[in-house]
Subunit: 203 residues, 2 copies
DNA sequence: TAATACCTCCTGTAAAAAGGGGATTTTTAA
DNA sequence: TTAAAAATCCCCTTTTTACAGGAGGTATTA
């Protein structure tokens, strides 16, 4: 029986993954945490085999948590949980010792496959194309590093001009990124863009 | 020992209030729920003395939950939890049988006072001016019914023109509301407005 | 090496929003 | 009942976005 611990600050994700996992025969949900601190707190007196760890946590980055967890219990198999947008940070998770990753909208069978893979001592890293495919099925698209950067600044209330100054590029470049953001996130103006970005937890 | 149950869909609020309550001598946190359904589920087999109940829940309105809870257990003392913006719905909570309300950023002593008041059989309703004062200390301002309505539509990506059509008012009126929203929420453009609104959980 | 994705930059037009000012009527609360 | 607050409406100007439609350079990789 593999014991899985879930770390994500979004109730929906925890509920969704838990409900899929309880239906699997040889997998058990050991518990969950909604912050890095409470996750680390859990592992002081408790344990698990696999940790599904969100990269975006409210108090500290999943990368830090990953390192800290492995220092405490090096036998832990950590699988990064990520939204479609945060692939940039995957390399860091790998470097921090994670054994695989999953998209948050993964199917039950994908999650099962990943857990079995890491328990068998293998790693579970999908290629960029596989991600792309899996996301296109869900009407999602990869955002690039630069696009995420611009998106964050837009949401902070900066204008194209201000963003251009900050990133040392021209205003038209910022506008290009803005256009592709709106097209990728299917937002017809800035308000919808910011809202979608926050709801999809991209920023 | 007064047993308090907290219902709010935001982890931060639950953590915040819980951590304040555990420090109070005669108050105990009975548990928490993050949706109306799971709250009602809890009270099937369990109980508490006081329920701190958010008005904005993901699945159903706090007002419905309040009524349902009191039908199940009429002795429950329900205190509405609200953000600075949702005062419009307070009267409904009162009608639904709530015994008082608290702002989510209330101090430990205010929460204690409210709990003791309802346990003693009194009600705990602050006047509009008291709220206003307490909010000005936190750099917050009351949003009106109409402003919240406009804000929601802005965040959905509607333009002033579209909002005007929807609400059967003139575009300039919508623009006025927009201006006062930006001034109240201290946002310098739409992006910041939407972000602040989502972060403060107004919409 | 050829394809692809990404980042960069451009022109131009039209629509919306931001910022300033002010005014009237209707609602609400004391 | 009366004052305050909210909701409605209008003017004007400038700035910012939205939309269309490119194009060149670089880096990765099949």
């Amino acid at each position: 029986m593999t014991r899985v611990f879930i770390v994500d600050d979004h109730p929906m994700v925890i509920e969704g993954i838990s409900s899929m996992l309880v239906q699997l025969p040889d997998i058990e949900v050991a518990g969950h945490a909604m912050s890095g601190a409470s996750c680390l707190g859990y592992f002081v007196n408790n344990s698990a085999d696999v940790v599904l760890l969100d990269i975006n946590l409210p108090d500290q980055s999943g990368i830090e948590v990953c390192k800290a967890l492995l220092q405490q219990k090096s036998s832990l198999k950590i699988i990064a949980l990520t939204n479609f947008d945060q692939l940039t940070y995957l390399q860091n998770m790998k470097d921090a010792g994670a054994k695989g990753y999953l998209l948050k909208n993964s199917s039950s069978s994908e999650i099962e496959k990943a857990i079995h893979a890491v328990m068998a001592g293998n790693e579970f890293w999908l290629g960029r194309d596989t991600i792309r495919e899996s996301m296109e099925g869900h009407n999602q698209l990869l955002l690039t590093r630069r696009e995420i950067e611009v998106l964050k600044l837009i949401a902070e209330g900066l204008t194209n001009n201000e963003i251009a100054d900050k990133l040392f590029v021209s205003t038209t470049t910022v506008d290009s990124h803005r256009k592709s953001l709106m097209s990728k996130l299917q937002a017809k103006n800035t308000a919808a863009l910011v809202r979608t970005a926050l709801e999809k937890r991209i920023i």
